[in-house]
């Protein structure tokens, strides 16, 4: 079980380790494994926006859980990216309220501007475009999410402006 970690292997920074201590405190000590989801979220942030097989193995060792337990959870929830994503993960809602308010045009504008479709990452690694289900901002439809941020009440022009202003 205990393997030597090579220098390139993912591992938590001291700041992340301090954060894990805060996370563990939320749960009774005898139910430490409840922290798996927040620890996976943290790992994804720490390790470049996605969870590589090595990152999942690291979390398994860190949590003292079987790798299959970790993989089972990471693959069940859509927010854990098991494939590399671009620096900007653009998630467009096309569910009913957004669709009624013009998400088709938003998707078209994104495709035209980025030159990629759903599930694709731009060649320069800047953008990944994804279609997602309802993100819970329906009264401000249409909307999309870029990394942690919601962008609401969109028009095709606004979307292009947002993309072009990304650093």
């Amino acid at each position: 079980m205990e393997q030597e970690l090579n220098d390139n292997a993912p591992r938590f920074s001291p700041e992340a380790l301090a954060r894990t201590e805060e996370i563990f405190k939320r749960y009774p000590p005898e139910h430490r494994e409840a922290a798996l989801m927040p620890i996976l979220h943290l790992a994804q942030r720490e390790f470049g926006g996605w969870l590589s097989p090595e990152a999942l193995d690291y979390v398994a060792r860190f949590m003292k859980l079987a790798p299959i337990r970790v993989h089972e959870v990471a693959s069940f929830y859509t927010m854990y990216n098991l494939k590399r994503v671009g620096r900007y993960h653009i998630q467009v809602c096309t569910n009913i309220s957004c669709w009624l308010c013009g998400s088709d045009a938003i998707v078209e504008a994104l495709r035209a501007r980025l030159g990629i479709g759903f599930g694709q990452t731009s060649a320069d690694g800047r953008f990944t475009l994804a279609e997602v289900e309802c993100l819970g901002a329906c009264v401000n439809a249409p909307m999309l999410q870029i990394n942690d941020d919601y962008h609401e009440n969109l028009t095709p022009e606004k979307v292009v402006g947002i993309i072009d202003q990304l650093p």
């Binding site: 494994e33 069940f76 929830y77 859509t78 927010m79 009913i96 819970g136 009264v139």
Partner: protein, 426 residues
């Protein structure tokens, strides 16, 4: 009372500057109700909430006071209070505003609820995409700890109540309470077989009460002004106020808090700025989130926004997400989109749902794309019947209801699709 007047209970603070801060919440009279509640016995608090008649605002509409009374007074396992903030029913976005604009109202409601059921630990399960909202809640929890409102000796009363957040991972099914518990325990979010119910065997096997954000955020006012006062708002069996998320084809989409029982037409015409293109341009309304059957314009003329009236019209109040469709919309296409959603969100545990949602979506897509076959409508109806009531949780029913409801209300559009391979409206 006048059902049409705007009334703000849960949303009272949210338009104030810095409404999420402790200072603003305290200035508005915050954390007074909890002091009052802690001076009363748990039984008295539950009695007050029962008297209010408030029903669960997450969608199921179960009376909250009765839910609390199911928690055994004495338990050899720790008891837990869980707030369901996994807001994910398409069309619904009211809890997000409470989380980001008035987190202390929720925290106060949870401390009161914790006292009522005897839980020493609570969790707020927030959908993972609400990252900024979760940070607001976390900051509010920190401030409440610093004041001694949370912790081992809350308000100096010798009572313990710890509170923490838990972020979801993007799975609609975790809004189902037992799937939520699994997820909170660090597992895949697959619903549990009931019974046993969470009130007896919930989080880590302990008695657990799970309430929606809006329900818990209503509790401080119920304690402050009394259950009878709350019950005087709204109508019989649908008491108090409700936040309706009005989206789609209205001129002023938004979250509107009104007394229950308001006519749907008033909600749309007065509060939501009217249907785009005028009332006559209305095709139908999905009145309670994506799983509630669509109402025709004729039904929308008379239905009132309470549990009984909407049920009588053949739909349900659900989470209070009112999705408005004007006459430019093809009903088949709209429902096909919802079917795709349920197929995506089925957790895969029960065969009727796992397989059935896939078939519903495939047939709806086929109809929409012009490849509908004779017998498809009957096949959809049969499928709905084979899913409903045959699964561990209600996701299967939620997938079937919009399809069966749309066929009931707009059968001619489905028939047109099969016969002509295209929409009536496009």
């Amino acid at each position: 009372m006048n059902q049409s007047a705007p009334i703000q209970i849960v949303f009272r603070n949210i338009h104030k500057a810095d409404s999420h801060t402790l200072a603003v919440y305290l200035a508005g009279g915050g954390y007074k109700a909890v002091v009052r509640a802690l001076a009363r016995t748990p039984e008295e608090v539950i009695e007050e909430v029962k008297k209010s008649g408030i029903r669960g605002r997450g969608g199921a509409g179960f009376p909250a006071g009765i839910k609390w009374s199911f928690i055994p007074r004495v338990s050899h396992r720790p008891k837990y209070l869980v707030c369901n903030a996994d807001e994910g029913e398409p069309g619904t976005c009211k809890d997000r505003d409470i989380l980001r604009y008035d987190p202390h109202r929720l925290i106060e409601g949870m401390i009161i609820a914790g006292h009522a059921v005897g839980a020493e630990r609570g969790y707020i399960y927030i959908r993972g995409e609400f990252f900024h909202e979760s940070q607001r809640v976390e900051a509010a929890i920190r401030d409440a700890y610093a004041k001694g409102y949370l912790g081992e000796n809350i308000f100096g009363k010798g009572i313990r109540f710890d509170l923490a957040i838990h972020l979801g991972g993007g799975a609609y099914v975790c809004g189902e309470e037992t799937a939520l518990l699994e997820s909170l325990e660090g597992k895949k979010g697959q619903p549990r077989v009931k019974p046993p119910f969470p009130a007896n065997v919930g989080l880590w096997g302990g008695p657990t009460v799970i309430n929606n954000v809006e329900t818990l955020a209503s509790i401080p006012d119920i304690i402050e002004h009394g259950g009878a006062w709350y019950a005087s708002l709204g109508v019989e069996k649908s008491t108090g106020t409700k936040i309706f998320s009005v989206s789609g084809h209205v001129n002023r989409p938004g979250n509107h808090e009104v007394a229950m029982g308001i006519p749907l037409k008033t909600l749309l015409e007065t509060h939501a700025g009217g249907v785009r293109g005028g009332w006559d341009n209305l095709k139908g309304v999905i009145p309670g989130g994506s799983s509630s059957p669509i109402l025709t314009r004729a039904a929308c003329e008379t239905v009132t926004m309470d549990y009984d009236s909407i049920a009588k019209a053949g739909s349900m109040l659900g989470s209070g997400a009112v999705i408005v469709l004007d006459r430019s919309v093809c009903v088949v296409r709209a429902i096909a989109r919802l079917s795709r959603f349920y197929r995506h969100e089925s957790c895969g545990q029960c065969t009727p749902c796992r397989e059935g949602t896939g078939w519903l979506s495939q047939i709806m897509d086929r109809l929409e794309a012009g490849g509908g076959q004779r017998g498809d409508i009957e096949l959809l109806e049969e499928l709905c019947g084979n899913i409903s009531g045959k699964t561990i949780c209600a996701l299967g029913d939620a997938a079937a209801m919009p399809v069966a409801g749309a066929i009931r209300a707009f059968r001619e559009e489905f028939v047109h699709h099969v016969a002509h391979g295209r929409c009536m409206v496009e």
